[in-house]
């Protein structure tokens, strides 16, 4: 590598391009609590928060625990004229498993359980060493890239609104009781939203990069 390109590389380190609109910005250190937004499209560039890493890990851990609870506890119970029918979260996922709709079962399992769990796992894997001040674990960058790519496909919060709509639809016809798994899932959604609000993508990448070089 020539001296010229080395100098240019160093120069590029001080620049940052807005991921939404490509506007160039000079990178400077953002103090915790401050929010840096793009001058042109106002997208949030960086929003470092004190102890954010630890908080995100704790929230992701509690989300995993709540998901396990949501899978194994009773979800909803329907009673009509003395007859009961109980449905767990897994029953809901298996709802499409007969006939032509069978492929949807895989999609349901992925959207509601597998992808959210994968995201939580990948985020913990990426951020845990950083919260404890260590160098990132191998493939941390791939794990975090996957977590970000899966973001729109982890549909736990969409599912819970679907449950609410279904409950109102059925409530007129029969007596319904809501099991602990339902509340575990509600908790999971709240925790997921909190966690995503704490996380600033560019800040995580900068920290990962800095830790890798240290």
């Amino acid at each position: 590598m020539t001296d010229d390109s080395a100098a240019q590389r160093l120069d590029l380190q001080t620049l940052i391009a807005c991921p939404s609109c490509d506007a160039l910005h000079h990178e400077r250190d953002i103090a915790p609590g401050e929010t840096a937004t793009c001058v042109r499209c106002h997208a949030v560039l960086e929003a470092p928060r004190r102890t954010a890493m630890t908080r995100i890990i704790m929230l992701a851990l509690s989300a995993i625990i709540l998901m396990v609870a949501a899978i194994f506890f009773p979800f909803l119970e329907l009673e009509v004229a003395g007859r009961f029918h109980r449905a767990s979260l897994l029953d809901t996922i298996r709802a499409f498993s007969t006939g032509l709709t069978a492929p949807l079962t895989v999609a349901m399992a992925a959207l509601v359980v597998i992808l959210p769990l994968t995201r939580f796992g990948a985020i913990i894997y990426t951020l845990a060493p950083m919260a404890f001040g260590q160098r990132p674990w191998p493939h941390a960058a791939s794990a975090f890239r996957m977590a970000e790519a899966l973001r729109p496909w982890a549909m736990a919060e969409v599912f819970i609104v679907g449950v609410a709509v279904a409950l109102v639809k059925v409530a007129g016809l029969a007596h319904l009781s809501i099991g602990p798994a339902f509340w575990a899932f509600v908790g999971l959604v709240i925790v997921t939203v909190l966690k995503d609000n704490f996380m600033s993508r560019l800040t995580v990448w900068k920290t990962l990069d800095a830790r890798r070089k240290s």
């Binding site: 490509d22 506007a23 160039l24 909803l76 709709t101 960058a141 993508r201 900068k206 990962l208």
Partner: protein
Amino acid sequence: MENAGRAPQVLTAHAAGLVGCVQCGRVHRPDVAICDRCGAVVTPPDLRSLQRVWAWLFAGLVVYIPANVFPMLRTSMLGQTTESTIYGGVVDLVHHGSYGIAAIVFVASIIIPCAKFAAIIFLALTVQRKVRMSAHARHKLYEVVEFIGRWSMIDVFVVAILSSLVQLDFAASINPGIAAVSFALSVAFTMISAESFDARLIWNADGEDYDHG
């Protein structure tokens, strides 16, 4: 964060002969293919990416038709089986007097998908044309489309919950219809279409004569 130029004269990475990573914001020289900070593939804003947007959008439109024609739910009550499409389900809800839920289902499964198709078509068409709608407004529109897409999946989840819950043999049972599959596919295809859209193209279209606050 300071800006390199100053609004209204914003310098983009592309205009500076550089290329920015859309994943982590790192700026590279144009011959770099893989970002050295995050490992993502680095691509300059490219009009050819619109082809992918159109392809997925078209696929989403095609499977949206059977989603509306075929039944979404098969309800059996005391030996009588009725099949209802998405629209039929909304009409039933209105007849039962549950206007709130009817509104949610109507918005989530009819208004949002149609509005999303229209919005993506509009955004993709206006990339290469001058329009009166400012880049700011179009960027907002893109963010809304990206955010709202997944919420159309509500209807598929409602069908799943209803058919797992209401299984009381003869008295009442609800089973999913084939339209659930094509509706889910339609939502997924449009989500991929929206994600393939490169938001940077919205701003490139304005070129240097960008002058909105």
